[in-house]
């Protein structure tokens, strides 16, 4: 019996649903103090004076720290070297990247609202909050830059003194001959297409607890992070500690979605304070603080020019885009390059020029958020499809099919290099068939027939489609150590750090299959730097591909070793042995068996050891899976909406997804990932936008103004799957974590435009708020 591919119940759920989980905010350590950050109220200002004397002297306050107290003990936080590009890609796109390190606490100037200035450590949060009121900061307000286009102008102030302009990073690339395509084509379309700045809003905000054992010089940090190993590295580096002496654990983590896929200043300073004060220190971010200062995302503006022929063939795309990075850019070109590499998605458009500018402004910094540059790319591409179809009076499906990469074109070389330095070559899938499957699921033809009648009765119903190809499971590696313990139980340790992805369930299914064991007899441990020497983290739809295959191969290796030991005990060739249900037996004589417990005992070093010569004692195997490049998942989304012309409200009537995640490890978990992803995509389509005023003040500082959808707004997604195995890993899996989020903005916007057709509604920006849509309808009606 195999367990992968089956709906095994999530092992994580009992503790999560019964209140037995442990998030950082649930943790207590003896003598623990609570920390609070005092953050900038100004987007750009000089810090003329910070008076902490009253706060310092308040009862119950242990320490108040500002930048000058570091005395050179804490270095600046550099952009993450983990996200720098490989040399061959650098040679190809010639990026300009300017250094942009981040002060842990603001020194003499603040450059965004929410930037940490001071930190108070007190007996409890109440005292710390009161002490914060006593800190007097004298700001001298300076002009702030909130518009990235203004930031790029010649004579404007440069936000970071060490940079020569506010364009922190820039790249260009092209394939084919766009200029020629433009000359040879029947039509050209020019549009500005925007995706606003949004926040990931995991249900658990950030949180850090640090304890320091001065006797052993050991620092133990619990952080709500996606990247424990990165956090460890930067703590060790910036605080000058032996890396081995730093242990970073992500306990139960309530979502990350990319917002916890970076190292934050808070993750450096809380450990620093726990050492300095020699007591456990904990910081739990509050929700307002989260909206203000946790890294945000998206915020791209694209100026596209598209050449196409009267039959719907898109011959070329030129796209210059700007990513407003805010004050810092920790992930450098990650999101912007993802956008470039993914823009054409499932389409065979040979002539392509794209250039991206990552611009620094006086807003909170941005990083990745579920999809990381891909929802932005897909919104651009699928708006293009819709606009081309509309201009030619064709059904969008016809334009999609006309331009789609055909199965016989696979492996398809897109002419670009991926972020990992390998060529973008789509290796498996059937894109037209995926679309067909989605259209059948949605009853597309039937809808089109009925739509005419419904519309003539005065209802505005429409259908919109979006598709994507997503590079998932990026390297460089993820490892697994699989070990049999003395009780005959299998343990698997991995370097990734789950925050809702069900590692404990799916990885135990993979492991169990190799041993012929029930997954209940396998325990997976993750999110702890002490488990395994090297780890990367959980992001970019990479868990199943990287950690999954690492577990798969390590389990295989251990299974082989166990058979070898059993062969010694039973005096029979391992090739004649079989393993099932915790026993190893000769295929021909199943009642003559040894148990896993026997094997664990026989593997112990010493005179009774039965490990064959040439093998080390012990029952453990390690494998680091290094993917040759990414796996290419794909997806097809169909939205059916009804627009209320009077109010501008959009009602999602139906939502369909067909997705190819390669081998499906656990169908329910895959479906859950898609359903949750779609929810966040709907948020981006209809509700979410972080709004800053011209002075860099965040105006959407609470959920009264920053709208996120609830269960009420999210339909049950109807799903179907393709299962084209990836050729790039032994199990054939592809990533699925982000897919659901990528397409909803495009599918829903296209559906809204379809519903209102023949009204010419300009909707190349998000979210489609009722007031905006109502206004656009008005404009379209009067023109």
């Amino acid at each position: 019996m195999t367990f992968t591919g089956k709906n095994i119940k999530r092992k994580e759920d009992y503790r999560l649903l019964s209140g037995n989980s442990q998030f950082v905010a649930d943790m207590q350590e003896p003598g623990m103090a609570e920390a609070l950050f005092v953050r900038s109220e100004h987007a750009h200002a000089k810090l003329n004076k910070i008076d902490i004397s009253k706060a310092e002297n308040m009862g119950g306050v242990y320490s108040v720290i500002i930048a000058e107290h570091f005395n050179g003990e804490v270095d600046q936080l550099p952009p993450h070297s983990e996200f720098t590009l490989p040399q061959n890609l650098i040679d190809e796109i010639n990026p300009i990247i300017q250094p942009c390190p981040e002060d842990i606490l603001a020194k003499d100037r603040v450059i965004y609202v929410g930037q940490p200035i001071a930190i108070i450590v007190a007996d409890n949060r109440y005292i710390a909050e009161d002490a914060a009121e006593l800190i007097e900061i004298e700001y001298e307000s300076l002009p702030s830059i909130t518009d990235p286009y203004k930031a790029m102008e010649q004579d404007v102030d440069i936000i970071h003194e060490q940079m020569s302009s506010n364009i922190q990073a820039q790249f260009d690339l092209s394939t084919g001959n766009y200029d020629q395509a433009l000359k040879d084509s029947d039509n050209v379309l020019k549009e500005r297409i925007k995706t606003p700045r949004v926040a990931a809003n995991p249900i658990e905000t950030r949180g850090i607890l640090s304890t320091y054992d001065s006797r052993n010089g050991k620092l133990q940090v619990w952080s709500s992070t996606q990247v424990t190993f990165m956090v460890r590295k930067y703590i060790s580096k910036l605080l000058g500690l032996v890396e081995h002496n730093v242990r970073v654990v992500a306990p139960d983590v309530g979502g990350g979605f990319g917002s916890k896929c970076a190292v934050y200043p808070e993750e450096i300073i809380i450990p620093y304070l726990s050492m300095k004060l020699d007591r456990p220190v904990r910081w739990i971010e509050d929700r307002m603080e989260h909206l203000l200062s946790t890294r945000q995302s998206r915020d791209q503006t694209h100026d596209v020019k598209v050449s196409y022929n009267n039959d719907g063939t898109i011959t070329g795309i030129q796209d210059y885009f700007v990513l407003d990075n805010g004050a810092y850019n920790p992930l450098v070109l990650t999101c912007s390059y993802n956008t470039a590499a993914h823009l054409r998605g499932v389409y065979d458009i040979p002539n392509f020029v794209i250039g991206g500018n990552c611009v620094v402004t006086n807003k909170a910094p941005t990083i990745a958020y579920r999809g990381a540059g891909r929802p932005e790319a897909v919104f651009v591409m699928d708006r293009i499809i819709h606009l081309v179809a509309t201009s030619l009076e064709l059904d969008p499906v016809e334009v999609m099919m006309k331009n789609m990469i055909k199965p016989e074109q696979l492996p398809y070389d897109s002419g670009l290099i991926y972020r990992d330095g390998e060529k973008v070559i789509y290796d498996s899938g059937d894109y037209p068939d995926g679309l067909k499957q989605a259209l059948e699921l949605a009853n597309y033809d039937k809808f089109r027939k009925e739509q005419k009648k419904v519309k003539s009765d005065g209802s505005y119903v429409g259908i919109g489609i979006s598709s994507y190809v997503e590079g998932t499971g990026i390297g460089p590696h993820e490892g697994a150590i699989v070990r049999l313990d003395s009780s005959g139980h299998v343990m698997a340790f991995v370097g990734s750090a789950p925050h809702g992805q069900s590692h404990e369930t799916t990885l135990s299914q993979i492991c169990a299959d190799e041993f012929g064991l029930d997954p209940e007899k396998v325990t997976v441990k993750a999110g702890d730097t002490d488990l395994i020497p090297y780890g990367v983290g959980t992001f970019a739809s990479r868990g199943a591909v990287t950690a999954g295959n690492a577990v798969h191969v390590a389990s295989k290796k251990l299974q082989e070793k166990l058979l070898a030991i059993a062969g010694e005990i039973l005096e029979i060739s391992p090739s004649d042995l079989e393993m099932n249900d915790g026993k190893v037996f000769p295929r021909a004589m199943q009642n003559k068996y040894v148990t896993l417990e026997d094997l664990a005992l026989a593997a112990k070093p010493g005179p009774k050891c039965k490990v064959p010569e040439g093998m080390e004692p012990g029952v453990e195997a390690t494998h680091y899976f290094v993917p040759p490049t990414v796996t290419y998942s794909s997806g097809y989304h169909v939205a059916i909406v009804e627009v209320d012309e009077e109010t501008g409200f959009v009602d999602i009537l139906k939502y369909y997804v067909v997705h190819d995640a390669g081998k499906v490890l656990n169908p329910k978990i895959v479906d859950g990932q898609i359903q949750g992803g779609v929810a966040q995509g709907i948020g981006a389509a209809l509700y979410e936008e972080l709004v800053y005023d011209d002075n860099g003040q965040l105006l959407t500082g609470t959920y009264m103004d920053y709208l996120i959808p609830t269960a009420m707004e999210i339909p049950d997604v109807e799903m179907d799957h393709q299962e084209f195995l990836s050729t790039r890993n032994p199990m054939g899996v592809k990533g699925v974590g982000e897919g659901g989020t990528i397409s909803p903005p495009a599918a829903i916007t296209n559906a809204v435009c379809d519903a209102l057709n023949p009204l010419d509604i300009k909707l190349n920006d998000l979210p489609i708020s009722p007031s905006k849509l109502r206004q656009r309808i008005k404009v379209a009606k009067t023109s």
Partner: protein, 148 residues
């Protein structure tokens, strides 16, 4: 944020001008004003307690009156900060004599807010500011009556 308005007074222009420059009157009519101390040169130090939406707290700051053209035109600038955030105001005030009697104050105010008050309160700020302006003038009129 920009808000503006007009306010008619039955009293003669000079009297209105004087009232708008009278610390005793101002102290009683500035919303939430706890203290107003004249520092000379048209400048006051002020402590105010105000609530905007859920953001309540104390602000300390400076108010300055620049008389551009006495008694017709002055500019009020105010800066205040406190735990709820900070406020920066520049208010252009013009007094015009009316044909029949009395005068009219035409004001145009540019207010920038920052910190919590912007993040939480910005949605309701315009309404609150208008309400406060209305109350300011109503209280001013009754103060002027009381003084007369």
């Amino acid at each position: 944020m920009n808000i503006n308005g007009k306010e008619k007074f039955e009293d003669p222009l000079e009297k209105v001008w004087d009232s708008l420059h009278d610390p005793e009157i101002l102290k009683n009519i500035i919303p939430g004003c706890e203290e107003l101390n004249y520092q000379g040169d048209g400048e006051y130090e002020v402590i105010m307690k105000l609530g905007v939406a859920a953001v309540k707290g104390e602000y300390t700051g400076k108010v300055k009156l620049d008389d551009i053209e006495k008694p017709y035109h002055y500019i009020l600038t105010a800066q205040g900060s406190g735990s709820p955030g900070h406020v920066d105001v520049e208010m252009d005030c013009k007094l015009n004599e009316l044909e029949d009697e009395g005068c009219e104050l035409v004001w145009d105010c540019q207010a920038d807010v920052g910190g919590k008050i912007a993040g939480v309160g910005s949605r309701v700020l315009g309404g609150i500011a208008k309400y406060m302006a209305g109350k300011f003038f109503k209280d001013m009129k009754s103060q002027m009556k009381a003084k007369a």
